[in-house]
């Protein structure tokens, strides 16, 4: 039967992950930015950026500020492109949309999402939720034949911030969701600043420094030892790396210098020493830059402490990592070593790493979109035309639902609401049980004294 195609849009603050549920495995990763290149004097909107070759001194206009969508002019310019026939190859007016939104998205911003989806692009129907809410439908935790666990704790460390999100029976436990104001953007900016102060002025080179960060940085499990090691003379310093800066006029990309690689006099070398680990370290020690917040390990413990006593063990045993920062080498090993002393001694800690942490939410969304039950989650264009954003407010579970369930519905909805079917009780579709996919599983040995 010809089911309505579902456009899946993981609308991140750094990149958009875009695809169509019935169009095979194709996913496009598109900068969620309007980028001006000084080199070629061209402005690139979202998907056009793949044509850019000169990445020096790029100027970014980002629709998101501190993780929330505030610049709708910029977002529209980018969305107009990706929803066009050339990119999407689907007519929005004949399609459904599954789009992600930030955790604790503000009600006023949510309404603008609704307006764009139905009034500007005129989708048939849509569903909006946060990235972690999609994970139970994906394969991050799947072991052959066993469905996703009932309790899981997601660490989502992205561009704008890092969240710890406990999920029970497929639903986010909002009162226990915690946020650290450290994300990839902050890390890149911090690296940019350190390098500019110590070596080359790279303050205008966000794109290059982001590549340096992704190529050279790692999470250490022995900060004190590594910081000593970086003081050794260059020959015996095992941490020091040389990054050869790109030369776009010669079409040369930036790269790490290989052990015996000769360099030219014209090459500009960036020495990456304690910067390699002191930058990602901020995820675990935000107070290293004066931010009075706990790092990921302590935040996980804080979150789990807010959950019912008798099932806390299940959260310790099902920790899943998503988001670009979790790709830093050494991330899960460090996290494990931080969690071990924070968890009860007899408690097993298991960390599930995604094969592709940036796409995990997107892929989970595709799984959800393919299920028949997806159609019961969406709000239709007719429903929106009838009751506007109230229709979405009633149907989409988010942080405000946490309270509704306890005290009964709080939103007025006016006369219309009482005539409508009560959607609140509708179960979310069961998590999928699909064949296992390669993934790493980091387990702590259960130690007893």
């Amino acid at each position: 039967m010809g089911r309505t195609p579902v456009v899946v849009l993981d609308n991140g603050a750094s990149t958009i992950k875009l695809g169509v549920s019935n169009a095979g495995k194709d996913v496009r990763v598109i900068p969620n930015a309007i980028i001006r290149s000084k080199g070629d004097k061209t402005t690139y909107f979202g998907e056009e950026f793949e044509a850019c070759r000169d990445f020096s001194s790029l100027n970014y206009r980002l629709p998101f500020e501190k993780g929330y969508l505030v610049d709708w002019d910029a977002q529209k310019a980018i969305w107009d492109g990706i929803f066009s026939e050339q990119v999407l190859r689907v007519d929005p007016t004949a399609a459904s949309l599954l789009i992600t939104e930030p955790y604790f998205n503000l009600p006023g911003i949510q309404e603008v999402y609704d307006q764009f989806v139905f009034e500007e692009y005129e989708f048939l129907s849509y569903y909006r939720c946060s990235p972690a809410a999609l994970i139970p439908h994906g394969q991050l935790f799947s072991i052959a034949g066993i469905p996703s666990p009932e309790c899981m704790l997601i660490v989502d460390s992205g561009f704008s911030f890092t969240h710890v999100i406990p999920i029970m029976d497929g639903a986010i436990v909002w009162p226990a969701v915690k946020r650290i104001d450290v994300g990839g953007k902050l890390l890149t900016n911090q690296l940019k600043e350190l390098v500019s102060f110590r070596q080359w002025n790279m303050m205008d080179e966000t794109h290059i420094m982001n590549d340096v960060k992704e190529s050279c940085c790692y999470v250490t499990s022995q900060f004190a030892a590594d910081i000593e090691a970086t003081r050794a003379n260059p020959k015996s310093n095992t941490i020091l790396q040389e990054y050869i800066l790109p030369d776009f006029s010669l079409n040369k990309r930036g790269r790490i210098r290989k052990p015996d690689e000769m360099t030219l006099d014209s090459d500009q070398i960036l020495y990456m020493n304690n910067e390699r680990f002191s930058v990602p370290e901020i995820l675990f020690r935000p107070d290293d830059i004066g931010l009075p917040q706990s790092g990921i390990g302590e935040t996980i413990a804080q979150s789990i402490a807010l959950l019912p006593d008798d099932i806390q063990g299940m959260f310790w045993a099902n920790i899943g990592l998503i988001g670009g920062n979790t790709k830093f080498h050494g991330f899960s090993a460090r996290l494990l070593s931080e969690l071990r002393p924070l968890a009860p001694v007899d408690c097993e800690i298991v960390i599930y790493e995604s094969k592709d942490a940036i796409l995990e939410a997107y892929r989970s969304a595709v799984h959800l979109a393919k299920q028949a039950a997806f159609s019961s989650l969406v709000v239709t264009r007719e429903e929106y035309q009838e009751s506007g954003s109230n229709a979405c407010r009633r149907k989409f579970k988010d942080w405000r639902s946490a309270d509704k369930e306890k005290d009964g519905p709080v939103d007025s909805g006016k006369g219309k609401a009482s005539m409508r079917r009560v959607d609140e009780k509708e179960p979310s579709p069961p998590p999928s049980a699909k064949p296992v996919r390669t993934r790493t599983r980091t387990v702590s040995a259960v130690k007893r004294r």
Binding site: N189, F197, L291
Partner: protein
């Protein structure tokens, strides 16, 4: 961020510690704002962002600035069929920054059993802060007497005094 404490500035010893805390909190806040910038050469948050050459002047004052979404020209079939609704025009033309949006959302007044963006922030760390040299990143065993930033040795102290010292004045 806790509310600022208003105290007489010169209450000798007792006040100096909380003043330090206040100075440090302010500095941390400013530092975070810097680290949120999308481009170096912008005052705080980029508004117009890209109006560098061809269309300066056009933006002018007032509300009549040209939107970037209207400037984007898409070719091919199926592009733009009709005018946007009033809701969409409003969203595009009247941008508000996050602080304003949070204020307007009223989440600060929600009852305490509703978790929000404001309540979700993680607590402070139990571990004592580490002192790292503000110049080279090694352990910072000494603290600048003027601004309390740590440094590790005489060499870094010199660099600190010349370039990084924030003194007391903020």
């Amino acid at each position: 961020m806790p509310p600022r404490r208003h105290q007489p500035a010169r209450q000798a010893q007792a006040a100096s510690q909380s003043l330090d805390a206040e100075v440090l909190a302010k500095r941390a806040k400013r530092r975070l704002d810097e680290l949120e910038r999308s481009n170096y050469a912008e005052p705080s948050v980029s508004y117009l962002g890209l109006e560098d050459d061809e269309d300066t002047g056009k933006s002018g004052k007032g509300r009549a600035r040209q939107t970037i979404s209207d400037k984007r020209i898409l070719t091919g079939a199926g592009t733009k069929r009709r005018k946007s609704t009033m809701n969409i025009r409003t969203a595009i033309l009247y941008r508000k920054n996050l602080t304003t949006l949070i204020d307007e959302s009223g989440i600060a007044d929600y009852s305490t059993n509703i978790p929000t963006y404001i309540t979700a922030v993680t607590g402070p760390s139990q571990a004592p802060p580490r002192l790292l040299c503000s110049v080279c990143g090694y352990w910072g065993r000494y603290k600048c007497k003027k601004c309390t930033m740590p440094y590790c040795d005489l060499n870094c102290q010199g660099v600190h005094d010349e370039t990084r010292c924030e003194r007391r004045v903020l």
